[in-house]
């Protein structure tokens, strides 16, 4: 909202304002070209700001919605060890959502606005979370494949041109590697377990493989935002490049697991020094994106319900804070940093 008003006020004065804008743009372009970082209070093109808000909001929403498919299994984890791991992982996803919301807020968008848009279906989250988690092995497949694909996407984002986004990604990537390893270990245990367990692991990989490949987004020639995002150094690699990198990483890992990937066309391409893989069903991707995936409705409904049911907690905390007039900006607010020393 604030960004819109700022934009409108600059239109009034001609000439000098345009020159100032050109000078600002030159400074911005030079910073991006020099691999410098853009920080919240720097001037930036409105389209750059809007593009970042769109991407970071989608990313944050994905972390929050992504808690649901795995949280379904917390109460049914097969051991205390696995249960503790899964709870820690789901808590991490909440944390990742909060890092990203904070980073998005530095662009002048409020937390409330972001959540409202998610609940109203006006901002997206990754379509991967519209698939169901049918068995315990799905928790493993999500960790190995879904988090693996996310890491492949996210590691280059640590060098994103927007400082707060890049810093959030550094923190997230550090934590994600535990997510991927626990999933891999879980699948390994099942794969080497009873024949039924092995079959369950294979079935989960079969169902999650293709949706994981779709996480990298549409092919380069059909990707709406890719070229501009790469010019701005928000993205560093194309969708297809990252997808291929992911396939190369997964093929030997699947061999160690003793599981197969559900694509008969995967083979080593000597000439390219990479793996070839089969055609992706992009109509499925488009359908899930449009809201016709197996769980779209369920995920949003549950998210809205959680938000509404938590309203009394937010109201009570705000009322308590008001009563003790400890809110910042009001008389009596602490001017000194509050310190808690362990």
């Amino acid at each position: 909202m604030a960004a819109v008003t700022a934009d409108q006020t600059t239109q009034g004065t001609a000439g000098t304002a345009e020159e100032a804008e050109a000078a600002h743009l030159a400074t911005f372009d030079a910073a991006v070209a020099a691999d410098d970082r853009i920080e919240p209070r720097d001037w930036m093109p409105e389209a750059y700001r809007a593009s970042l808000v769109r991407q970071m909001a989608q990313h944050a929403h994905s972390e929050i919605i992504g808690m649901q498919p795995e949280a379904n299994w917390i109460s049914r984890a097969p051991s205390l060890r696995r249960k503790a791991i899964l709870m820690a992982k789901v808590q991490d996803e909440a944390g990742h959502g909060l890092y990203l919301y904070s980073a998005a807020e530095t662009l002048g968008t409020s937390r409330e606005e972001l959540l409202d848009k998610l609940h109203a279906g006006r901002q997206r989250y990754s379509s991967i979370f519209n698939y169901p988690t049918l068995t315990w092995a799905d928790v493993g497949a999500i960790g190995w494949l879904v988090d693996g694909a996310a890491i492949t996407n996210q590691v280059p984002l640590c060098r994103c041109s927007y400082g707060p986004y890049a810093r959030a990604m550094v923190r997230i990537c550090k934590e994600e590697s535990f997510h991927q390893r626990q999933g891999y270990e879980l699948l390994l245990a099942l794969s080497h377990g009873t024949p039924a367990q092995h079959e369950m692991a294979q079935d989960a990989v079969n169902r999650w493989w293709w949706p994981s490949l779709m996480m990298f987004g549409p092919p380069d020639d059909a990707s709406a935002h890719s070229a501009q995002s790469m010019a701005w150094k928000i993205k560093r690699h194309s969708n297809d490049e990252l997808r291929r990198r992911f396939v190369d990483i997964c093929v030997p890992q699947a061999q160690v697991l003793g599981l197969s990937l559900p694509d008969p066309d995967i083979r080593w391409n000597e000439k390219l020094g990479q793996h070839d893989y089969g055609a992706i069903d992009w109509t499925e991707f488009q359908e899930v994106l449009k809201g016709n995936g197996p769980c779209n409705e369920q995920r949003l409904t549950q998210r809205r319900k959680a938000h509404e049911e938590g309203a009394w907690v937010r109201d009570a905390a705000a009322a308590y804070a008001d009563k003790h007039s400890a809110r910042p900006g009001t008389a009596g607010a602490a001017a000194q940093p509050v310190e808690a020393t362990a």
Binding site: D42, L98, R167, H307, A311, R314, A318, Y320, P328, A333
Partner: protein
């Protein structure tokens, strides 16, 4: 969807271990200072990243403007003699 507005924003500073200063880790929303500290613990020290936390209302921070960064920091730009590398010392001189 929600009737109430966002809780205030707080900046979080974490001392990773004794002997080091607090470093900015990020920000969060909380209704008051006490809740901000608890949220900061859950959000920024899940893996023992800190032994001490500060939370500061974001509105209490005064920042220099990025637009004036050249003129604001310029006075230090032409004073290389403030750095030890500015001085040429004959070879072999020790402890200097």
């Amino acid at each position: 969807m929600s009737s109430s507005t966002d809780w205030p924003l707080w900046e979080v500073f974490v001392r990773s271990r004794r002997g080091l200063s607090h470093t900015h880790a990020g920000s969060l929303h909380a209704p008051d200072a006490e809740m901000a500290l608890r949220n900061a613990r859950d959000l920024y020290t899940r893996r023992s990243e800190g032994v001490s936390l500060w939370v500061v209302p974001s509105t209490e921070i005064t920042a220099s403007s990025p637009d004036e960064k050249d003129s604001f920091f310029e006075p230090a730009g032409d004073k290389p003699y403030r750095h030890p590398t500015f001085y040429e010392i004959p070879e072999g001189v020790k402890h200097l």
